[in-house]
């Protein structure tokens, strides 16, 4: 084990996998000579050279498509988006091509590609740089979507994503890159895609939170514990395929659930998890499932409005109070 920053854990995953497979390369804006816009790929140009660390122009649609074409023809690209907000320009290649080519050709062509980069908001960046895209991509068949919250999960799941023969979207956060955590350092450390993790045991309420919201939920759980409410905190880690069994198992014990999600309320992970819970655990619920999400507005710039916009530990506590009838 070693204590690594989130960005170092991601870099270690890329580095270890690249050292084992010549067909893996990284492409994206500023990944090589600039050493990564957020220093995730720092040092990899020196180690692997400009054949395998490729700086692209600001042309998300074009380089995403070149990545997909390279994957069709036997390579294993890791395509970095400076943020998933910019990947919207590449949506045609991700949604119409990467996710569909294998199916449309009756299984003739595989697309072993990873699209990765930061997701969701990162402070006062206003409306176009603050959107969480995991649920949108999870809507589409043919894609796997991962959004982790801690360095060890990031390393283990990114290694699995790179080894996966299907297209995988791997999401990070600018605000988590400096976060430190213990990370296994053996080469074969992987975490299977599609497995949630119970990260805090508790008997009073199940809280589901992933990505940056996991840390918001953690703060809420710590505060609630002081008040005698024990939260069982589940991090799905993978959005698609979603491990609903782990969540349902917990609800059968706690009978209450709050989902914390940095998406807008309509059609996000919280909406989907809420539906699945009523289908799978209706008779076990002692209260309607509550959710804490972004409001149905764009991200504002002004500090006071932004703080109001982003889910906070207080909102999580309030939702827990509702499902536990403490209010």
């Amino acid at each position: 084990m070693a204590e690594l920053q989130f960005r170092e854990a991601i870099r270690a995953a890329i580095d270890e996998e690249m050292s084992q497979d010549e067909n893996i390369f990284v492409m994206g804006e500023e990944v090589a000579e600039y050493n990564g816009a957020y220093k995730v790929t720092e040092g990899l140009l020196d180690k692997y050279g400009s054949k395998r660390m490729i700086d692209t122009p600001i042309a998300e649609l074009g380089f995403a498509g070149i990545g997909v074409g390279a994957a069709m023809n036997g390579l294993r690209p890791i395509v970095e988006f400076m943020t998933f907000n910019f990947a919207v320009l590449a949506a045609d290649q991700i949604l119409n091509h990467a996710s569909k080519i294998r199916y449309m050709t009756g299984g003739q062509i595989e697309i072993p590609i990873v699209f990765r980069g930061p997701n969701a908001s990162a402070g006062q960046l206003s409306a176009t740089h603050s959107v969480s895209y995991d649920a949108m991509y999870a809507h589409f068949p043919g894609l796997k979507v991962i959004y982790t919250s801690e360095p060890a999960d990031a390393k283990g799941l990114l290694k699995s994503a790179i080894r996966d023969d299907n297209p995988v979207l791997f999401m990070e956060s600018e605000q988590m890159y400096g976060l430190k955590g213990e990370v296994p350092d053996e080469d074969n450390f992987t975490i299977p895609i599609g497995k949630a993790k119970v990260k805090r045991k508790g008997s009073d309420v199940t809280v589901v939170a992933h990505g940056k919201m996991y840390h918001v939920a953690t703060k809420a759980a710590e505060q609630l514990a002081k008040d005698g409410v024990e939260v069982e905190l589940i991090d799905p880690r993978t959005v698609k395929p979603l491990d609903i069994e782990t969540i349902v198992k917990s609800i059968k014990k706690t009978n209450r659930c709050v989902v914390v999600d940095e998406s807008h309320p309509f059609g996000g992970l919280a909406a989907e998890v809420g539906y699945l819970i009523q289908r799978e655990a209706f008779d076990y619920l002692d209260a309607p499932v509550q959710r804490v999400t972004l409001p149905d507005t764009n991200a504002p710039f002004a500090k006071n409005l932004f703080d109001e916009w982003l889910p906070s530990p207080d909102q999580v506590i309030e939702a827990v109070n509702i499902v536990t009838y403490r209010k």
Binding site: P57, I66, G69, L75, H97, I101, T105, G107, G142
Partner: protein, 368 residues
């Protein structure tokens, strides 16, 4: 203070009408460059090659004529975009390329499949949506493919295949396979941003790819001069890219030019932008009333028919006689009728195949 003008000018945007600004007495959506004057021997083609080219072109033509009939009879659904009139391009190109060079194209892909190893049976069965189709009934008309023969498929989003072609070429350069990629797109796809992005990176990175625009005069119902400014091949100039404009109604010309270009790409690992001018005889798809063009224009191009042209060459050069032509045509007719029987008799995919081919693994936990 400026005085208000009393009369306001009528505002227009897209140029309208069927005329073109440089037209002669017959309106044409594209002007064809001269075909090659060379005969088959000086192009390095044997008499057998020329006969084979004719067979391939006639096969594509009859396959689609019969497919159209079956579609009109309601034998299968979906879209049906016909390649008729453009067969010299697919045929000349596969002759110019090595068998392991890579080809990718858009949704007008039946001809491309047939010249790159999709059998008439597999092709017809795919149109019918049968399990025995080249894409196991999952792709249909727009998604013929034969990956083992380096035909990566037809793609349904206009301009979607352009960066994919660049990526296939990227992988060839990365792995030093020596293979050339030929990425075909329609004149309508020239207007998509994906072409600009791909050409820019291709030139910057030296990708071994030929981006070949099949300019058939129309982006669906919009004539090329109404949707795109300037000459299409001249877009290459902005990237410092090698370029050419080719007569696509003559198979020898397509063969000669594409062979030269492929050799250059293979030798120098530099991309080309090529405009191949041609004409589509049928509508964009089967539901197209074709009101955007004149009957006279269609007739002008039908006089230049690539299949008739090579047939005439075979006869004029005494390579084969009328009887042999009839024999070949009858044989192809039989092949296609057998393909129709095969498609009709084949099974639809099993309903459990709905989930097949989504993911590489068999045990993916689908959301429900």
């Amino acid at each position: 203070m400026a005085k208000k003008k009393k009369e306001t000018q009528e505002i227009t945007f897209t140029p309208s009408g069927t005329g073109i600004r440089t037209n002669g007495h017959v309106v044409r959506s594209t002007e064809l460059p001269n075909p090659t004057k060379k005969k088959h021997k000086s192009l390095g083609l044997s008499e057998e090659d020329v006969v084979d080219m004719f067979e391939l072109m006639y096969l594509q033509r009859r396959f689609e004529e019969r497919a159209m009939q079956m579609y009109q009879k309601g034998k299968f659904g979906g879209f049906l975009h016909l390649y008729m009139g453009q067969e010299a391009i697919s045929t000349g190109t596969v002759y110019a390329l090595n068998d392991d060079d890579d080809i990718i194209t858009a949704y007008r892909d039946h001809g491309w499949g047939l010249v790159r190893g999709v059998s008439p049976k597999e092709g017809m069965a795919e149109l019918y949506g049968k399990e025995t189709g080249c894409s196991h009934g999952k792709g249909g008309s727009m998604h013929f493919s034969k990956a083992e023969n380096h035909f990566w498929g037809g793609f349904g989003i206009v301009g979607g295949e352009t960066p994919l072609g660049g990526g296939i070429a990227f992988a060839n350069k990365y792995k030093q396979t020596g293979r050339v990629t030929a990425c075909f797109l329609g004149d309508g796809a020239v207007d998509q941003g994906s072409l600009h992005e791909t050409l820019n990176m291709s030139q910057n990175w030296g990708l071994p790819c030929i981006y070949a625009i099949e300019n058939n005069g129309y982006a669906m119902g919009t004539a090329v001069h109404r949707h795109s400014v300037g000459e299409l091949y001249e877009r290459a100039k902005g990237y410092g890219m090698k370029n050419a404009v080719i007569n696509g109604m003559d198979v020898f010309t397509v063969y000669e030019k594409m062979k030269e270009i492929a050799e250059d790409v293979r030798k120098n690992s530099e991309p080309w932008l090529v405009e191949i001018r041609t004409y589509r005889y049928r509508g964009h798809s089967m539901s197209d009333p074709m009101k955007y063009r004149t009957k006279e224009e269609l007739q002008e191009y039908e006089k230049l028919d690539p299949v008739e042209r090579i047939k005439k060459y075979l006869l004029d050069e005494d390579i084969i006689d009328e009887d042999k032509i009839d024999e070949i045509q009858d044989g192809i007719e039989d092949t296609i009728m057998e393909a129709i029987d095969y498609a009709e008799e084949s099974d639809f995919p099993d309903t459990s195949d709905l989930y097949k081919h989504m993911f590489v693994e068999d045990d993916y936990p689908f959301h429900r």
